[in-house]
């Protein structure tokens, strides 16, 4: 080996990417598996559902593009108009009551009350119970013959004959609302309670020193402190309630006379005839409402930031 070769500096391979580019690629690669999963499990079914809502596809069939025919068919049905009304009333009533009950109980459980841990655990029970069991139980409670509510009302002399909670137009939807509130409020309580515990105690002490009463402390300290959580809980719970199927299916099947018909029930009836395109159209028809709600919540959250 010549002296020249020994003394010549070894060629250093130039890196293919500079540090910044390598960071970028690594970043993309790290999120790629998650992005693929989301594409497979969320985006694809979502786009597919929108697509088939524009087709006359039946289960097992290919389906042809029929434009807005499924939507036109839906919108002209009496049951659809009733469904829209019911869904709005149901969701608004359920969410309002859950908000009031949830906030009230969360504030209460955030105080130094006796057996606080026990009450916190107990509150969770309705949420922990399987929905099927919960709603069948509510159906039995409402039963006109042998139902607990009628037994109590008649024995207390409050009514002279049985009350048909689930089979009269006036009472069916409110009865379903009560059952849905009972089943769903623990989530609100626990979320609000967790949020309340993050509000610094010093703020309450400062407010108390300034002479704020309990209501003023709640309004000016607690509520702003948990506002983000309230917005997110409202959004998530609204979506859950709108999509709630088992409560109505188990208690009224959408009746009597469409009095409790909601989007998921309507979609279910379409799918019973294998008309998956029509069923998808029912589901997609809810999309603008959800999108608007998500948009409002996003704007409110951003405004805070």
């Amino acid at each position: 080996m010549s002296q020249d070769a020994l003394t010549r500096p070894q060629a250093v391979r130039e890196p293919r990417f500079n540090m910044r580019q390598a960071d970028s690629i690594l970043g993309y690669l790290l999120v790629a598996p998650l992005v693929i999963c989301i594409l497979m499990l969320v985006v694809y079914p979502f786009v597919f559902a929108i697509w088939i809502s524009f087709t006359d596809r039946v289960i097992g069939g290919g389906g042809n593009f029929i434009g807005l025919a499924n939507y036109a068919y839906l919108f002209q049905q009496n049951s659809f108009q009733q469904t829209v009304r019911n869904t709005i009333v149901l969701v608004f009533a359920v969410q309002t009551i859950k908000l009031i009950v949830g906030l009230g109980l969360a504030v209460l459980l955030n105080q130094e009350i006796r057996f606080r841990q026990f009450w916190r655990g107990l509150i969770l029970l309705p949420w922990a119970m399987p929905g099927f069991v919960a709603f069948i139980t509510w159906k039995l409670l409402y039963a006109p013959q042998g139902g607990a509510f009628n037994y109590i009302l008649i024995n207390l002399g409050l009514v002279s004959s049985h009350v048909d909670f689930l089979s009269t137009r006036e009472l069916a939807l409110p009865s379903v609302v009560v059952a849905l509130v009972w089943r769903g409020f623990p989530f609100w309580v626990i979320s609000f309670l967790a949020a309340l515990q993050t509000v610094p105690r010093e703020l309450y002490e400062a407010a108390a020193l300034d002479g704020a009463n309990a209501w003023q402390r709640f309004r000016n300290v607690s509520l702003p402190g948990i506002r983000h959580v309230v917005l997110v809980v409202v959004l998530v719970s609204t979506i859950w309630t709108t999509n709630s199927f088992e409560a109505i299916f188990l208690m009224t099947q959408g009746g009597p006379s469409n009095a409790t018909m909601t989007f998921p029930m309507l979609s279910y009836f379409s799918l019973q005839s294998l008309r998956i395109g029509e069923g998808a159209a029912v589901g997609v028809a809810m999309l603008p409402v959800f999108s608007a709600l998500a948009f409002v919540v996003a704007v409110l959250l951003q405004r805070d930031e």
Partner: protein
């Protein structure tokens, strides 16, 4: 500690793996295994379900092939099969109701089994007329898409003989109007109500369509394309049933009952009449002999124009996704399951009527009062849907429960009979038009 290079490589490999899964997954899902899979229809009798499973496993052992029997709640068949079709995971053979078979056959999901149908029928004295007319309906275009194993869906009228006889009614009502009159005289609300028939959005609620037809009403014309709800016959029927409702003959809650509402009302002693294929009888036999003793059974009453006892059938079918080898195995299995000795024991525990001549002589059809009614239905009943054309549009009319909903509109919402008819006529025609344009 992981190096940057390690992270880079791992992420890259995971990404490639997921992409590969994305491409290969559909092929993995539809890959055929050696196991022969059968989806059987779960019925109320545990004994019958166990016998059925054991019989298929016995066949599998004889053939030396692994078998998997999945018993499916019949209320969930549509959902389960629909999901399996979309996912490409249908079983090798399955039990279906006639209406669902019609829908699937129109989407080319089932194998035509004309030869096997004839072969099994001939080996057992021939198919009963009611079953044969269902299976060879014009709707199938000359193909036969399954092998029936029993007559189903036939309701028997249960009545509380103890209460009714005390009120002077010894005999079963011959007409629905008589049933209402007996109810009016014998019921004692709020403890007992006469007419324990569902008026809700469930399958039992479609008995009201049978009532409407027995009043001479029709859902659609003879071509099965134009709805004919708007008729004097429908008006007369609605007049009668809504009067009965407003007179308090139906138990409270009948407009929102689930599928077990009528059964529960009868077994709790709250209803004098119900229509049920046999599950209530089986339950009373095991758990409430006193109520069984107080009950009597008869055929469904008739209307002013005709008496209808719709006969449906339960069928064994083979999906088109089944490989030719397994189609041959399924055909062999169907023959094995049709064996009279097995079916006699099965029918003894189940709540079905006979489908073939050889089954008519099974002892259960003379020994059990409910089975006597089921036999009568199978022999003298009318094909489901009759006098209407039992096509896909008629099936969708049923799955949307338009007749009970029409009654609910009057009974619950208080709209006029004419308005309810006009509304239902339109909704019905909308359904039929979807099929007319296909």
């Amino acid at each position: 500690m992981h190096t940057r290079k390690f992270l880079f490589k791992s992420s890259f490999r995971l990404t490639i793996l997921l992409l590969a899964m994305l491409v290969l997954l559909p092929n993995i899902v539809v890959a055929q295994s050696d196991t022969f899979t059968y989806w059987g229809g779960l019925i109320f009798s545990d004994e019958a379900n166990s016998m059925f499973e054991a019989r298929i496993k016995e066949w599998g052992e004889m053939k030396g092939i692994p078998v998997e029997v999945v018993m499916i709640n019949q209320n969930e068949t549509v959902q389960r099969v629909s999901a399996a079709i979309e996912a490409g995971t249908l079983p090798d053979a399955l039990d279906l109701g006639w209406g669902f078979m019609l829908l699937l056959s129109q989407n080319d999901q089932l194998v035509a089994l004309n030869d096997l149908y004839t072969e099994i029928g001939d080996a057992h004295g021939g198919w009963l007329d009611s079953i044969n007319s269902l299976m060879t309906s014009d709707e199938f275009g000359g193909s036969i898409y399954g092998v029936p194993y029993a007559a189903s869906g036939m309701n028997v009228l249960y009545r509380r003989y103890d209460v009714l006889s005390a009120a002077g009614f010894e005999d079963a009502p011959a007409t629905w109007e008589e049933a209402a009159d007996q109810s009016r005289a014998a019921q004692s609300p709020p403890e007992t109500y006469g007419m324990g028939f569902a008026l809700s959005n469930v399958g039992d609620g479609n008995l009201t369509t049978v009532m409407l037809q027995s009043w001479g009403g029709r859902i659609a014309d003879d071509t099965g394309t134009t709805c004919t709800i708007d008729s004097d016959e429908t008006r007369a029927f609605l007049e009668w049933i809504t009067t009965a409702f407003s007179d308090g003959l139906f138990p409270p809650g009948a407009t929102t009952w689930d599928g077990a509402g009528d059964n529960t009302a009868y077994q709790a002693g709250n209803a004098l009449f119900i229509a049920n294929p046999g599950s209530v009888y089986l339950n009373m036999k095991d758990n409430d002999p006193e109520l069984l003793e107080a009950s009597r059974f008869s055929g469904l009453p008739g209307g002013p124009v005709m008496r209808l006892v719709p006969v449906d059938t339960v069928i064994r079918s083979i999906p088109t996704t089944t490989s030719p080898d397994k189609q041959a195995l399924a055909a062999d299995l169907f023959q094995f399951l049709a064996d009279d000795e097995f079916m006699a024991a099965y029918m003894n525990a189940a709540i079905y009527g006979p489908a073939m001549q050889s089954q008519v002589d099974f002892p259960v059809f003379t020994e059990s009062p409910v089975h006597v009614g089921l036999l009568d239905g199978a022999l003298n009943g009318t094909p489901a849907g009759f006098p209407d054309v039992n096509n896909a549009a008629y099936a969708e009319y049923g799955t949307n429960f338009l007749t009970p909903r029409m009654i609910q509109r009057i009974a619950v919402d208080g709209i006029s009979i004419d308005d309810a008819i006009a509304e239902t006529q339109q909704a019905c025609q909308d359904i039929y038009d979807k099929y007319n344009t296909q």
